[in-house]
């Protein structure tokens, strides 16, 4: 087992060595067009394979973003295929997240206008690796049809109670929350089933930290932008065993959303960032992930932790590149884009 773990760690670290580094981001920040970004990535080990046959000039923003996501997916699949371990189900965690994204995209199509093309919103190349029949899914137009199309998957049971909900009554954030809970449930179940001792604790803590941060951001958003009631907010949050309920209630009870920001900073991520970083809310979550990923990638000797770090780094890389591409598209100043990146 230890040998297989070491082989996997070596493989992950080899792949990670090809990821974009600080120098690459500094170079990319200087680019002023999508084709310049594409030309740079085309020469980089991390993306040269996927961009080899794509002429830079023909690339637009969404296509480049799609290709970047696909490349990260290909690399994760490369690792998962490499595995023959009994804890393989833990490593499928990023695929579970992708399945959630697909179902959410379909639900979005029910509440969007007719022009919304759900097929363009889902990673079509992923259906070979999922039990969900994507073609069937994209042909549904309401919750009832969706639940029927999910036959044979665990999602049918999960969504059965929503089968009767009419399109106009769909509350999208409820589904977001449901899938978020499912993601963390899956993670904790796999961790409990496969690992013990210090490794179990550190993996659980990594997820719990994310939950706590996401909860706080959610409270901030729901209060500031949607004016949701405190009780409703509490129902949407994902329970975490680490943070005491009283503390959570205290945060929910804060009236001024700006004070929640202060609470987030006081929660422990503050020391990692300076004042000007706080202009961008997701930065907190990104920075936390970066911190966890760094710790696992460079100090852990357990394959699941290193793998988790790799997936976190992968997510951050995709987000960083998306910020750069969007920033260029909307002609945002280089320094402002930089504040959104975590590397």
């Amino acid at each position: 087992m230890a040998f297989i773990d070491n082989a996997l760690i070596t493989k992950i670290k080899t792949l990670h060595a090809n990821d974009l580094g600080a120098e690459d981001y500094h170079e990319l920040l200087k680019k002023r067009s999508i084709s310049d970004v594409a030309a740079y990535l085309k020469k980089h080990d991390a993306y040269k394979e996927i961009l080899a046959n794509v002429p830079e000039a023909s690339l637009n923003r969404s296509r480049l973003e799609g290709l970047i996501k696909r490349q990260k997916f290909n690399q994760t699949i490369k690792l998962i295929k490499f595995l023959t371990l009994k804890d393989k189900s833990f490593y499928s965690i990023s695929l579970v997240h992708m399945e959630h994204e697909v179902i959410l995209a379909v639900i979005r199509s029910f509440i969007s206008s007719d022009e919304y093309d759900v097929v363009s919103q889902i990673p079509h190349y992923f259906d070979h690796y999922s039990k969900i029949d994507f073609v069937k899914l994209t042909k549904t137009s309401n919750m009832e049809q969706l639940v029927a199309a999910l036959e044979g998957t665990r999602y049918q049971k999960m969504l059965k109670m929503f089968a009767g909900v009419k399109n106009e009554d769909i509350r999208y954030y409820e589904f977001e929350s449901l899938f978020e809970s499912d993601y963390y449930d899956y993670a904790f179940k796999q961790i409990s089933a496969n690992y013990k001792g210090k490794l179990k604790l550190s993996l659980e803590n990594a997820f719990k930290s994310r939950i706590e941060m996401e909860n706080m951001i959610k409270v901030y958003r729901l209060k500031k932008f949607y004016g949701v009631e405190d009780n409703d907010i509490k129902a949407i949050l994902i329970p975490s065993t680490r943070i005491v309920e009283k503390k959570l209630d205290e945060i929910i009870a804060i009236k001024d959303p700006a004070d929640i920001l202060k609470a987030i900073v006081a929660s422990g991520v503050g020391p990692f960032m300076d004042d000007k970083d706080q202009i961008y809310l997701e930065y907190f979550n990104d920075h936390l992930r970066f911190h966890i990923a760094n710790k696992f990638m460079y100090y852990s000797t357990a394959a699941p932790a290193v793998f988790l770090a790799y997936t976190f780094f992968g997510e951050l890389e995709v987000e960083n590149l998306t910020h750069i591409i969007e920033g260029i598209r909307y002609q945002i100043d280089e320094h402002e884009i930089r504040t959104m990146l975590v590397f």
């Binding site: 046959n53 023909s58 696909r70 093309d117 097929v119 363009s120 079509h124 190349y125 994507f134 994209t138």
Partner: protein, 642 residues
């Protein structure tokens, strides 16, 4: 060897700075020190701005060079008389004229690309007998030609219920050349779907009429016409640039001169009204440097020893003869020697060439490698080329010793017959594959290795004495103690086993040459502390003994492993001979032209594969076995401003 340097201070009043810099930039070979070192240590000192306004203008000129496909000569300027505004105006004006034509060319190129795409599509449906105008005028059906990226084509299966027909023609460069048909009623929806899949529509130009074969001819003719148009524009561009070439050369020269002044100024330090430029020059250049500023009484030149100012560590300027100079490449790859170190280049040149020659001995192949090296030196800037020229000669020499020319022994037989005649007795080449020779050959290579190791330990000992690092010189495993221990064991083995001298290992020699050196090596660090008047065992004796024991074990082991490492030299001699034997056997199995082909291909294969492996293996011996004993490589390269 390492050139002797001098530390130079050039000082003047700030009002004379321009005069100083005007003259300074025409002197080659001044290594400026980092001005911040002075600014951070001298109260009130300040540096000049590092920005260089000439850089963007020079980049503009380079862009013009690329546009007109010309290389401007940088005209040598000794004094700047123009103004930067004038230069800027000239570059902007030229740029404008050139880019106007260049943009026209780019536009036509894009047009050609569109037509070429259309041509490729039209050829895909060459068998169709329907004229294009009929296709595009259809009342109920809409037709779109275009390209679809292969990676998204898989998405088409999600739209199987949608009313369209998709016809792929060919796959090229990651796209599918295709067309789709739909009814006018669903045109918008289907166009939307294909747009979301990054479908790139190819428009068939309006002038294209008739059936596809006629359309092809029309398109080809149009493409040819546009290409001719580009040629015309290119000639106009070239003529314009040629007519102003002299002016461009002048501007380039002026900008370069001005840019050098800015670079030099960024290294100057201002203290009150005085300005100083500090740096290193070669000792042999001192006279020339002083003459360079002759007749300028407002400039003070202060020449000091390289180490007069402890804030600056002198850089290293390697100076080597024609033979060893190319091997500096290997030395710099490992690290630059510090100013007081010894320059290992000559040692590398000799040992590298010798070991390569022994391992790759073949007269024909050696001369061929040399010739390839010569040609590469002439036509490329490859740093390995001159090394190939030199090692090839050594290969050729050892080829004569082994009697081999392109793996054949017959070629050198008359030479050995002639040698035998001269010396009056039979003289044969050394055949590595002879049974009687193999063991001797392996032992000989170990002996060569041991000699090389002894030499590098001796070099290190001398170098450490020179730099007054007495503890390293006396007690290190690569110092006098190591020399005595390793040298004695080697000498004793030779004397006792080969020369039959009895009783070399006796209690007296063992104590003097083995026990005492081992104790000194073991106690090197405490002794070094003692020499520096510190406590010998600051962390206690117990811990030191355990750590020291393992270190000593490693030191003794490294003598054995480093020596045996040279066995690879013998191994490669045998491997080379073995591979050439295979080539010879294959040649015997074929006849006529086949045999010649096998000989050429076999020799090329052996030269390519084994030449590379031997080159790497010798470099490994240099870096690992030798450099680790006498070379640290922690210096800075002498890097003159101009």
């Amino acid at each position: 060897m390492i050139s002797k340097l001098k530390l130079v201070n050039l000082t003047t009043q700030e009002e004379h700075l321009d005069k100083l810099l005007n003259n300074f930039v025409t002197f080659n070979g001044f290594h400026a020190v980092d001005p911040n070192r002075i600014v951070s240590t001298v109260h009130g000192a300040g540096a000049y701005e590092a920005s260089n306004p000439c850089e963007p203008l020079i980049n503009d000129l380079h862009e013009i060079e690329k546009l007109v496909n010309l290389k401007f000569e940088t005209k040598k300027i000794v004094c700047f008389t123009s103004s930067i505004d004038k230069i800027q105006a000239f570059i902007e004006q030229s740029h404008k004229k050139i880019t106007a034509k260049y943009s026209a060319i780019q536009k036509i190129k894009e047009e050609i690309k569109t037509y070429e795409d259309a041509l490729f599509q039209v050829r895909n449906i060459e068998n169709m007998k329907t004229p294009f105008e009929d296709l595009f005028k259809a009342r109920f059906v809409a037709l779109r030609f275009g390209k679809l990226p292969i990676d998204v084509a898989d998405r088409l299966r999600f739209y199987d219920q949608k009313p369209f027909i998709f016809l792929p023609f060919a796959e090229r460069d990651g796209v599918i050349w295709c067309l789709y048909l739909t009814t006018n009623e669903y045109k918008m929806e289907i166009d939307n779907i294909f747009t979301s899949m990054y479908f790139q529509r190819i428009h068939i130009p309006n002038f294209v009429h008739g059936t596809p074969d006629k359309a092809s001819a029309a398109l080809e003719e149009e493409i040819k016409r546009l290409k001719d148009q580009i040629e015309g524009l290119k000639n106009e561009l070239h003529d314009y640039a040629k007519s102003s070439e002299g002016k461009f050369d002048e501007v380039m020269g002026e900008l370069q001169f001005l840019s050098d002044i800015y670079v030099a100024r960024s290294h100057a330090v201002r203290l009150g009204e005085r300005v100083t430029l500090t740096g290193f020059i070669e000792q042999k250049q001192v006279k020339k440097f002083e003459n360079h500023f002759k007749g300028m009484p407002e400039i003070d030149i202060q020449i000091q020893d390289a180490e007069a100012d402890k804030r600056f560590s002198p850089p290293t300027k390697l100076t080597n003869n024609w033979f060893s100079r190319p091997f500096q490449f290997f030395v710099e790859m490992y690290g630059v020697p510090s100013y007081h170190d010894i320059d290992p280049t000559m040692m590398v040149a000799i040992t590298y060439s010798l070991l390569f020659g022994i391992m790759f001995g073949d007269l024909g192949q050696g001369l061929a490698v040399s010739l390839i090296g010569l040609l590469m030196t002439k036509f490329t800037k490859n740093a390995l080329a001159p090394i190939l020229t030199r090692v090839g000669i050594f290969s050729a020499f050892f080829g004569v010793v082994y009697g081999e020319t392109f793996g054949q022994t017959a070629f050198l037989t008359p030479f050995y017959a002639w040698l035998s005649g001269i010396f009056g007795r039979e003289i044969h080449p050394i055949h590595p594959m002879d049974n009687s020779m193999t063991m001797n050959l392996l032992l000989a290579t170990v002996a060569i290795g041991a000699t090389i190791l002894l030499t590098v330990i001796l070099i290190n000992t001398i170098a450490k004495f020179k730099t007054k690092k007495y503890a390293d010189a006396l007690f290190s495993s690569n110092g006098l103690s190591g020399l005595m221990l390793y040298g004695f064991i080697l000498a004793a083995i030779v004397m006792q086993m080969l020369l039959g001298v009895p009783n070399v290992f006796n209690p007296v020699t063992i104590v003097i040459f083995i026990v005492i050196p081992i104790i000194l090596i073991f106690l090197k660090e405490p002794l070094e502390r003692k020499l520096n008047h510190h406590k010998m065992f600051p962390d206690g004796v117990g811990g030191f003994l355990i750590e020291g024991f393992f270190e000593l074990f490693e030191v003794v082991l490294s003598y054995v492993t480093n020596t045996l490492s040279f066995l690879r030299v013998g191994g490669f001699v045998l491997s080379h001979a073995g591979m050439m034997l295979v080539v010879a056997t294959l040649m015997q199995m074929t006849s006529g032209a086949g045999s010649i082909f096998v000989m050429i291909a076999g020799n090329l294969f052996v030269m390519g594969l084994e030449g590379l492996i031997v080159g790497i293996q010798v470099l490994r011996l240099e870096f690992y076995e030798m450099f680790s004993r006498y070379f640290e490589g922690d210096g800075n390269m002498f890097n003159p401003l101009f």
